[in-house]
Subunit: 303 residues, 2 copies
DNA sequence: GCAATAGTGTCTGTAAGACAATATCCA
DNA sequence: TGGATATTGTCTTACAGACACTATTGC
């Protein structure tokens, strides 16, 4: 493949061609990776008998310099010349959460021209799901101002306009990110245009309070993907500890989908995905429940 | 948002910071867009009574210069500083097929270090589906050596190894691309590692005959995505003309999924996606069939 | 009339949604 | 013992898969 002695129009072999190739000839954009790191944590119990509630959280970092100084951004950074995109994302994940063996998936690449005031920046976004119980607290440490925010994304307004050959569907998604100290929010507009056979989707940040750059729309997109994939894949188990009860698992689904599920049906659907153990929860203030683990041999017939 | 008078640790406002920001400080990768442009064409009828068969085709371009001189590559090119990724992809699509109002979707971003011998190249891949009947022949013109290849991707070998905490599934996909003059092929290895809760997928080109760079794996990935999305979205209609018969529609599904479907069931499933017209096919050598058009108001409850 | 495709009817098994009933721990 | 959760059962409806049957054209 590389033993190429063919000459091009200038009469050069590949070797000669490469030796004079000037990679710095054109101006180039910068490339970053941005990470959406999600986890689900338990909140305080309200009552010794009740179960603790679960909350979906996202890791954000406070920017200490321009641009967007003082605002919160997705962890991430420039891709080095000698590391692949995946490696760059893994490095970021390791640096921010000290976890290196966990689910990670490329989400989407954002490349609008005015995204960053410094220069043209193209950002490859990744989504990672981590189990809060095995996580090093490093990230929740104040040291470099990285903090977990509870997330919610709700449909705020929907508008459908029927046109000649189709319709335009405009949705406003209200994004809320908060913890003890900070309260961030954003409005993300999604416009779906259907005209004849052709469908186009456009996303735009309409309003952003405390969230850097266009990160609000990356977050909104990630949540959408998470909600969608949890229905037909096993990714939710990356948010679970080694052993868990079926109710805990259900709570994770509910907090991500933002809706309640019926217990009996949920158990039927997940039955093949888990393996029963002989262990039980204790001291729960009510009937103990059996602990399960993930079944790695689960076969997915949806994908 | 940009009216930021806050000063950073060096005492600079955002304005000052940006004025001295040097975008050329670090070495940067190059960024390209690569397009997978699919279409489905009719082949010759074998018999005046039989229907014409359909074939899935992909547009490739013959490289006229190093590297990979003489090999076939996906159309694409460097992203300009003043155009978004989508715009770059649209520009490529327009240049290659002269079509500008059609389905286009971002696929995946490929950024391994040794992808291109010239320099570090990160490639954002897009997939586009075009209706061959409305297409300008420009692309199939020999002028710049762009040609349609019929595509097939078949599972060639599958190997599952059970490990302690899961398994390793290795699949070899045989890719064949051909037209009257050229016959290209490649073997793409997909390794899925399941260990406990963590699943990783790795793709690699094992063998490539006449296909430039790592484009074989981009093609294999695109076909996989196409096969998957056709099941629960309306993207197939982008491959159809304005009016079509249900059998033609079914043929498109069959050629993409590479398997036969039952007529009655197919019609039930697509019933909501199409609108009946009063027109019929003629001179078919058998019973005429009703023509349909896409129903833009079809609501997808799978996505 | 016959080859070939167009179009419809129906049976079966499986899965999703809704709801009900029973079981078990522990302060 | 009662509050709370755990676990199982079952009815209904929807839909996917398989197969069979009828209809209509051109030559």
């Amino acid at each position: 493949m590389s033993e190429n002695k063919i000459k091009n129009k200038q009469g050069m072999t590949e070797e000669q061609f490469l030796s004079i190739y000037d990679a710095g000839k054109y101006e180039k954009p910068s490339v970053t990776v941005d990470m959406l790191i999600f986890t689900v944590t338990k909140e305080e119990k309200k009552n010794y008998r009740k179960l603790s509630e679960k909350v979906l959280k996202l890791l954000l970092i406070k920017r200490g310099d321009h641009p967007f100084i003082g605002q919160w951004a997705l962890p991430g950074g420039f891709v080095q010349m000698k590391e692949s995109l995946d490696d760059a994302a893994l490095r970021e994940l390791k640096e921010e959460t000290n976890i290196d063996h966990i689910y990670m998936e490329q989400l989407y690449t954002w490349g609008d021209v005015g995204r960053d005031p410094r220069t043209r920046v193209i950002s490859v976004s990744y989504m990672s799901l981590v189990d809060s119980s095995t996580m090093d607290i490093r990230a929740s440490d104040d040291a470099d101002d990285a903090k977990w925010f509870s997330v919610s994304a709700k449909l705020y307004q929907e508008q459908k306009t029927v046109t000649e050959k189709g319709y335009v569907l405009q949705q406003l998604i209200k994004l809320n990110l908060s913890n003890e100290d900070d309260d961030l929010s954003a409005l993300v507009k999604t416009v779906k245009t259907v005209e004849g056979k052709v469908t186009k989707v456009n996303r735009e940040v309409v309003e952003s309070n405390g969230i850097a750059a266009d990160h609000a729309k990356i977050i909104a997109y990630g949540i959408e993907r998470l909600r969608s994939k949890i229905k037909y894949t096993d990714i939710a188990f990356n948010l679970m500890p080694e052993l868990f009860t079926l109710t805990e698992l259900q709570q994770v689904y509910e907090v991500i989908l933002d809706k309640e599920l019926l217990k009996a049906n949920f158990r039927r659907k997940t039955a093949e995905m888990v393996i029963e153990t002989n262990e039980y929860t204790k001291d729960a203030g009510h009937r103990p429940s059996k602990l399960f683990r993930f079944n790695p041999n689960w076969i997915n017939n949806m994908e």
